[in-house]
Symmetry: C2
Subunit: 323 residues, 2 copies
């Protein structure tokens, strides 16, 4: 707590030096304790210049998430009531599912700096180097089972809105769960669920956003189809601000969702880059080609096949064809 | 293995005595070992009469499931490849879900003699005294999420067919998951699932059948609406035979189900006692009253409300009104 106070004072004084005496006075602790906390901040990755008779100032802040920074002014109602921030985890989704199985309440958020066994859809791997956001959110909506896929769509809308709000970039949603910038993947969502035949126990909404990672951390074949917010904007992104924006965006949409699960479908339609396009959809043992027409009220993709037949698809991998 | 051989020999000789010498010769072990296995069978609850110079015979067999008895001549393809038989467990479904989360393969079956925390639908308790069947089956069908409720319907069909086959009783299915005899509950099903947005990882199909339990083991308010196979037939039921029949019935229908998930809907329709009846359906914050017309291809109940409107219901508690 004192460490955060000192950090906040140093941050708000920007490049001006703050003396140890002043820091001690303003926080109400001894100068020795101030010095201890300065050392602790340095261990966290802050580079702090110390000049005798002038004091301290931050020279470099690490690109590292801190829980108090995220919580500062967050003011969400449901999502992020508790935030578990981990330097490293096998998978934020797996960790959040375990917590949810043990009874964790709705709105708990798990964020990790890196994942060693990041999960993608359909048992795939989500390569998870440092510099990105890996975030899993536990929700317990009382909706029928067949409406569960709408949670993924809601998540996609919240992420696309966050990218617009925080970086000014127009992200597009590719059905069902990819967020694209310049036609490349900048975010993926993985929804996992525990349910009975007629009741959802909990859903974990996993969100991986490519933010500041070096693209050469990825294998060549993945790199081609991947981008980051930093690459698109040309500058490093403040991930704290981005997480905060994400949680706010999710919170607002989730509260709407609880009121009416289909409420975000119009926003989804506006943000999506799938409908109206010629697509190939593979999955469930078949490959369909046709034109994506719309999504239905349960989030399924409505296709008009090349032979004119109408098909509704619940799951699959979509490839958008070049016009 | 030797114990099972001795048990089988004693069983097939019925009330005739079998000498220790004969048992030793036929099993290929010493008479001392025969005596040890006889003692072990007595510990399992068999009452074995031992008369010097005549030998042994079974007087009373315990009403207790034994794995080799269940497996004998089972010959199922998928369901019951492995059977875990437990004297007591918190919940067979919870236990099976844990095994499935750890990667247990499809078809594993968990059976317990009693449950200390038996689960019912919607977080309810399933009171689980000895004498019944508590059975959970792990399946991993590659079907879309919205077809998952069909697994419950398939389970209900398999149970109703088992009751007919094994006891000659015409059981009726009450949507979605109760099996009734004389209008009282004789079996309930609880389906639990782990899934991603577009893939089922595993489903645990939990089946509780009231067989030989004493109805006064139940609280009065539950007892009124409950019956057992023993109560309906007027005699104690061989639970081993019943479990074997259940697993066979499930196996046959599951293989059909994998081929075409809607294949058992006609059988369901024939066995069901819900459609055509006036019903009150409560759940999801509302209560509907009308006539149950049919189930749709995803297993949802189609209602015609009193005002003539058509409604499809995915979940709820159904009360069938007396005509």
């Amino acid at each position: 707590m004192y460490k955060d106070k000192i950090l906040n004072l140093l941050r708000s004084s920007h490049s001006t030096f703050l003396s140890g005496e002043e820091l001690a006075r303003k926080t109400g602790i001894s100068r020795t304790m101030v010095w201890k906390y300065i050392k602790s901040l340095e261990q966290e990755g802050f580079e702090i210049e110390a000049v005798p008779s002038q004091g301290y100032r931050i020279v470099v802040s690490p690109d590292r998430l801190r829980q108090p920074d995220i919580k500062k002014g967050l003011k969400t109602k449901r999502i992020g009531r508790e935030i578990i921030l981990l330097p490293e985890i096998h998978s934020t989704n797996a960790f959040a599912m375990e917590r949810a199985n043990e009874g964790a309440y709705e709105g708990i958020v798990v964020i990790a700096e890196l994942q060693t066994k990041g999960r993608g859809r359909l048992g795939r791997t989500w390569i998870s180097p440092p510099g990105n956001i890996y975030c899993s959110i536990v929700v317990r909506p009382q909706i029928p089972l067949h409406k569960a896929p709408l949670v993924t769509l809601m998540g996609a809308v919240a992420v696309a809105a966050t990218v617009k709000q925080a970086c000014g970039l127009n992200a597009g949603i590719k059905w069902p769960n990819d967020i694209l910038l310049s036609g490349k993947k900048v975010c993926g969502l993985l929804t996992e669920m525990s349910a009975e035949q007629d009741r959802i126990r909990h859903i974990v909404l996993g969100i991986g956003i490519n933010v500041n990672m070096h693209l050469d951390a990825l294998p060549a074949e993945v790199r081609m189809q991947t981008t980051t917010l930093a690459a698109e904007t040309g500058c490093s992104i403040d991930r704290t601000m981005l997480v905060r924006e994400l949680l706010r965006s999710m919170d607002a949409r989730y509260l709407d969702f609880l009121h009416d699960p289909a409420s975000m479908l119009d926003e989804w339609r506006k943000l999506n880059v799938t409908t109206g396009r010629r697509v190939v959809v593979s999955g469930a043992g078949e490959t369909l080609s046709g034109t994506a027409r719309d999504i239905d009220n349960e989030g399924r993709l409505v296709l008009m096949l090349d032979d004119g037949a109408r098909r509704t698809v619940a799951a699959g991998d979509v490839t958008i064809m070049k016009e």
